[in-house]
Symmetry: D2
Subunit: 345 residues, 4 copies
């Protein structure tokens, strides 16, 4: 079988290089294009020396012809980029996996209010499939446009889903205390992300309102079959990778065995690993892998259930999940190219 031609728009960021780390050895695809406005002409291995000897691609200009030749195009761009060009790509028969936030919200007005500008392709919002395979596998398979779930939203949703789908918790008072490594902020020259500013420290941010909040509430509402209210507090960790979400909810239904509930829900999921009772996940156990590890606990047997959920924000929270979606779109086994073992220690 001939290989699928794949392109990456916006390849200088961390999700871009992570797509390459995973796609270059992927047996069914050829990455033929990698764009960057600022680095056009420069070999990607110059920017990311880990790719030396593995990838000879040079960045090309986004306006060049290379991308037009691709069967599938990944967008590893900041928001407000994909929505400018995706409509034309879809129209010309290409399929798109967007890692950015452009097509995650179904309501254009809501998108505008959180991102501060009008949506440039609101016609596509209804069609875009939310790229969380553990919820939307069938729709992803047929999708022309997949809007990959965000990093925090992936960790938070996978933790809440078993409880909400089973109607066991009060969906009106959910709490997600989440923490991310610094790669979540991308590869941007900002004082706030210097090692000297954030190592050996921790802080909350975006407490008054983070852009991942509406995305999580929107999707959890579907799972819950009704409105969801979430208090979402992200924190910045002095690590490179990793998201740890600690979730709290009030139990309102009957459940003798939360552990079994979680194990059943994810029994057939290749990338969700429910830990044995009493063990809690560490972010390092998923470093570089596409796995989400989850534990559930009911402290003191009181009314509050606690779920811990960890992912690598650059893999299951971004590039790995995008490739998982691509595999589904192509009818490949979901774990193709994604079965690398996490780096530990």
């Amino acid at each position: 079988m001939s290989k699928i031609k794949v392109g990456i728009v916006g390849g200088t960021g961390y999700t871009g290089v992570e797509l390459l780390r995973l796609l270059v050895p992927h047996p069914n695809v050829d990455v033929i294009a990698l764009t960057s406005r600022t680095e056009a002409g420069r070999p990607v291995a110059e920017l990311y020396p880990n790719l030396r000897g593995h990838c000879n691609l040079a960045f090309s200009d986004p306006s060049g012809p290379e991308i037009a030749d691709c069967d599938i195009v990944f967008f590893a761009t900041p928001h407000n980029v994909a929505m400018q060009t995706v409509p034309d790509m879809i129209a010309s028969g290409q399929r798109v996996v967007d890692l950015s936030a452009d097509f995650r919200l179904r309501d254009a007005a809501q998108w505008s209010s959180w991102y501060g500008e009008p949506h440039a392709a609101s016609d596509l919002l209804a069609e875009a499939v939310y790229g969380l395979p553990e919820r939307n596998r069938e729709s992803i398979a047929k999708a022309r446009l997949v809007a990959c779930a965000g990093c925090y939203p992936t960790a938070v949703q996978l933790g809440f889903l078993p409880l909400l789908e089973a109607g066991l918790i009060d969906s009106n008072s959910l709490i997600a205390n989440a923490a991310s490594g610094a790669s979540g902020a991308g590869r941007q020259a900002k004082v706030d992300n210097l090692l000297t500013e954030i190592t050996d420290s921790v802080k909350a941010y975006g407490v008054a309102g983070h852009r991942h909040l509406p995305e999580i509430e929107q999707e959890l509402a579907v799972a819950a079959g009704g409105p969801v209210k979430l208090t979402f507090v992200p924190h910045l960790l002095p690590t490179i990778r990793g998201i740890h979400a600690t979730l709290y909810a009030t139990i309102t239904g009957d459940c003798d065995d939360l552990q079994a509930l979680f194990e059943h829900r994810y029994a057939n999921e290749a990338f969700v690993d429910v830990l044995p009772k009493g063990l809690y996940p560490q972010t390092r156990s998923v470093r570089g892998s596409n796995t989400c590890r989850i534990a559930v606990e009911r402290p003191q047997n009181r009314d509050t259930v606690v779920v811990m959920s960890v992912i690598d924000n650059l893999v299951k929270g971004a590039s790995g999940q995008a490739i998982q979606c691509m595999n589904i779109m192509l009818g490949l086994p979901e774990f193709t190219g994604l079965n690398g073992i996490a780096l530990m220690p």
Copy 2:
């Protein structure tokens, strides 16, 4: 005025060396004894080279005569040590500041159930004053025995106090999501605390039940004037120092201005700094200092209030707080020897 003679029992751990860092330059005390069963005879500066040139003390055996000569004795020991010898010290007229957990719970049976052994000095539990100056300043001044508040309990209580004292929140569904640097685990040779095991990672632990839970619930109940139920989830951070507590509560009372509530509550506290509205604390901003920095937020103006509270677990969470208590016991200004500025970056 002649200097107060001070001794430290159990000086090899991190709270021990931190007591020395702060007490050696303290203008009103002389540290004359420092004990260690395992290191007796060894100069402390050999173990902690930062003390070279500042402190010539050598460890002495706990059974030796040096401690008996002290006016005030600090216990920087694991639990189950202080309660063996404190009764005799009190009887002989010495005053004790215990940094361990031995005298923090008022109920001996509860202590036994959490610490797995009978309490050896339950007679003193009623007399021991809980060492959180922002609550118990007057009692500390007269105390013979102060049981210093634990590290997590300090950060959590200072965050909840304004809300509970004002009766604004549901005391039955409190949540404390807290995270500590690795020095909180002490200086013990354990695989779990190796750099290779915990750096570049984060995890929750003790979710089913942590020993700081009953201490926090006991003290918050006093502030609330009734029973308190807390879900307490501690996490291990890849940092040396620092506790970040993110607190969640359901607002049940009326309050137009949470910011003002917090600012008023701590207006006269030298070591509690309420940040301007919209700013959130970083643990590094208190590194090495006795300050607790706090912020309060009500996301989306919904029913859940979020409080962020940071301390240096070895200072305001242990040795600094112990010295603050000592200053109060001696009638000195509380900040004597404690006005060092945090190290940043």
Copy 3:
């Protein structure tokens, strides 16, 4: 072709789990045994959760029958273990790849003086092949017993080899200033390796004499065709993985183009990457990969040449190199199972 049966003696340490990470997906081998005296019966994925879903092996007792069934046995043990049982294995027709120091020195007396005990299998020292493929590929192919090069020795030798083989430097005054991440110290419960003791800090150690010194001098002497004197100063870095060796030598021969010398020497080596002139290697660029990246510089065009050489101490410095040796012993392409791309960021 049926798969080769492989066993690992001493699988609880970091080189053990790293062998598993690389061998489990290896297409030509089956890991059928993994021993540990202390953890016998326990699933390895309990100790190393990154292996959950990838490896169902449980530790077995070293005295059990499993190891006897293996075609090739890896020793991932501290020194003084392999030499006790390797002679019997070799006698019974098994081939051995020893990651420990037991068979690296050819002189039993020298071994004894550095390791403080008599050598238990000195008869095998002459036969053991030093496992640095870039020097000894042909001998490794036929070897019954390979003594894998140590971590520092690998980085240091690969850096000096082009210069020494070409006779360009004074072999009597070599300097290797090397630094290693904490995983080089293994997974041992020692206060010295706690995060609190070594993060945000750096120190030299073993300056008066480190056990890797005689190994490096022995092998470089072969390359130089005469005695070699090295000053070797290792340092401990606050990182998990990675060795950075900065090498200094006095140029005594003529060489117009050091860059070309290095590029030629390693032109056919899959795992040695000479960087373009003016670029210097970062340890993160080899994190998790079997690559050694090297740069050479002659500052101010004076007489001192500087070589920088980085490896992942657990991969090219241990488990990856052992598998590279195994591939050679089995006649497989050297990069089989070893072409993973380094994790960056």
Copy 4:
């Protein structure tokens, strides 16, 4: 005695805030001015929350009147700033302590070749006193303009001085392998200094030629009484603070007891601590303090001597040393305001 009025030009960087941390509690000075072009009007405690409650200063514009009122002015600026305005300050009777590189080299042409622009105040180069108190105490006392020694130069010179002053080593083949925490690169928005780019990694930089090289050679030549050739290789460490210099030299003279040589040389120096034989310094042992800790070793009793020297780059390598110089200029005890104990752990 009335307090000395002190100003800081360029207060937004890490050496600026570190000057404040040390000067605010200093008993003999008042910081009355703190300038920043970009942050004029903003309270410094907004930028550096560790100063909240300790320092009410706001940044003022450098062209404002505040600086003119100061008795002593510190420059905590990048190079090429101080030399523009220092001549006028000196002319008007102010004394200047420059932490930048502007007045460290005595040869204007050499300065130009390393810094890429003409020197704007070459007339002052002859008068400027090189601010390394352990060499130039008497000149500093009388100086109008002190050019503080750089961070690497301080660690390297203090390590080599005893050997060079005693004529024991070949001054023609010195090697300084040095490594610095990321604060040495300042508080600049650069991708290269992001946590994601440099944590859990190490690299060399500036190998072909670093600006600290001519400064070190110039000053060591004075100590050696003749020309000095140094190979200087700096490395970037994944730490906030700390410089570790590992120095190598060939012994050419007779010395039975290198340990005694170092101890004698620094017997009267408050801020240089020669460790007992066999102990090596860690950077954390000087974190936040003005101390330089040194060890000397002669491995295998061969011809190469190894010196290890550690400082906190922001204290003894910058702001602490500047204050030490100021104390000397004012006739105060050198340790005034500088006797804080390093933060450990």
